[in-house]
Symmetry: C3
Subunit: 193 residues, 3 copies
């Protein structure tokens, strides 16, 4: 009898556990909150934006393609550039040197969305096609430019970055007038497949 | 022998369960479907959009910055505003009163994308920097404006809303002509970290 | 005593397993990597884009609404259309026939973002309201048009596609001049709720 009893306990335990593990639980998807979160992947890059100003056609990597009624598409508008839509295809480098060999392209747009201070909304991708990285990382979010660091969302990825999600911290590393600026991007991925 | 037998059952059970739990399963990521899903976080806000019309420069929180060939950037175009790109920086309030103290800013754009009825595509963020909320929630999706309620995606978040995902239900709460409209946003987050 | 011993082992095992399963683990969210990943849902559609060119007002499903300083909004600009923002409301069909009964609408925008080759950044939704599908799928990502296939991200969904995520592979199935093009979209969803 004794071993049977042990077996019964074990079987009871099995069903108990099985229930706990396998049944569709009506609980919300609250993920564990380890303090703090550790990224499963961490990457740092720089990208370099040169806005077309009517004279720099050869070097420009970005252009104003939308403007408010009071603006035009050659000079960023007054009122904190509110309403300027800028499209870009910027080189990505591993260090802060514009002339380093690019490891990919940052492609997408930003749109200045506030009249009293500089803020923008960003939608763009990092597109890689090198020996080191192949695939893309997609970003979206608000960029309050005057803050030293700003967090946006990594909303997806493809190739080497298949299905990834995370947070990217932007930092304006340098700028020259209203034509050139360089961003440092610290990418922390928290969902890796 | 008896206790050993119990132990053997238990160990067998352990490996059985271990296999079930820990092995990389080649199954697709079908999440449990508790009927219905319960959000892990639920928030309701209002935001207020005042489109620049050439006369309301002081109060306007939005401006037309793109238009179809047959339109301009001061008056929303015919054919259901098809082709108008609007950028906004709208106050977020807890109730439906435009003059309540804002708790954040709704920043981003919408673009009217249909000729025969009013529909738009939205990309925007809720940006919070108050004692109650700090961080951002990022949204994207189609907004068939003529429907009483419309669902868009919460595609990510930062700060207090780190890595969140969910669904936001939009409802046009009020509007005045083609200048002012107020949206009620019911944010249901299903992934909370 | 014997059965007790078995029970003790079993209980010990329970707590051991319980600890393993339920405790908040400080490990990063590295999801299992079954080689290869299998989608939990797989859908294929076609959509049809007819760009307004000043003469096709009746049939056009898309229009240029932003352009670089050197362009206009009736003809796609030189330099690989760099800076052209196009908004669309395209019919979705199950086969490659423009005249098949549409099963939904592809709504959103693309913006050409490179001067030397054709590339664009896409933000759009598939909106379904039929007996077969109800809800929306939201997409974002870079589209290097000259590649035979291009992967973008499925960043969320609503209705029948509640909370989904995945990867969509785009392929230019046909085009006529710079007015009509047809895309084949292979949607692989890896997170299904």
């Amino acid at each position: 009898m004794e071993p049977n009893k042990g077996l019964v306990s074990a079987l009871f335990l099995f069903f108990l556990l099985h229930e706990t593990i396998a049944s569709p639980t009506p609980k919300p998807h609250i993920k564990p909150r380890p303090p703090p979160h550790h990224p499963c992947r961490h990457l740092t890059f720089y990208f370099h934006d040169i806005i077309f100003n009517g004279k720099n056609s050869k070097n420009a990597t970005a252009a104003i393609v939308g403007s408010p009624p009071w603006g035009n598409r050659t000079i960023l508008a007054g009122q904190s550039h509110f309403g300027n839509l800028v499209v870009f295809d910027d080189p990505i480098t591993l260090d802060n040197n514009l002339h380093s060999a690019p490891v990919g392209r940052a492609q997408g747009f930003y749109i200045y969305d506030r009249k009293d201070i500089f803020t923008a909304w960003l939608g763009f991708s990092f597109v890689f096609n090198s020996t080191q990285h192949r695939g893309s990382i997609n970003f979206a979010g608000a960029d309050p430019l005057m803050n030293k660091t700003r967090d946006i969302s990594v909303i997806g990825g493809t190739g080497d970055f298949f299905m990834t999600r995370g947070v990217a911290t932007l930092e304006t590393d340098a700028f020259e007038g209203e034509v050139y600026f360089r961003l440092r991007v610290d990418i922390k991925l928290y969902e890796c497949w």
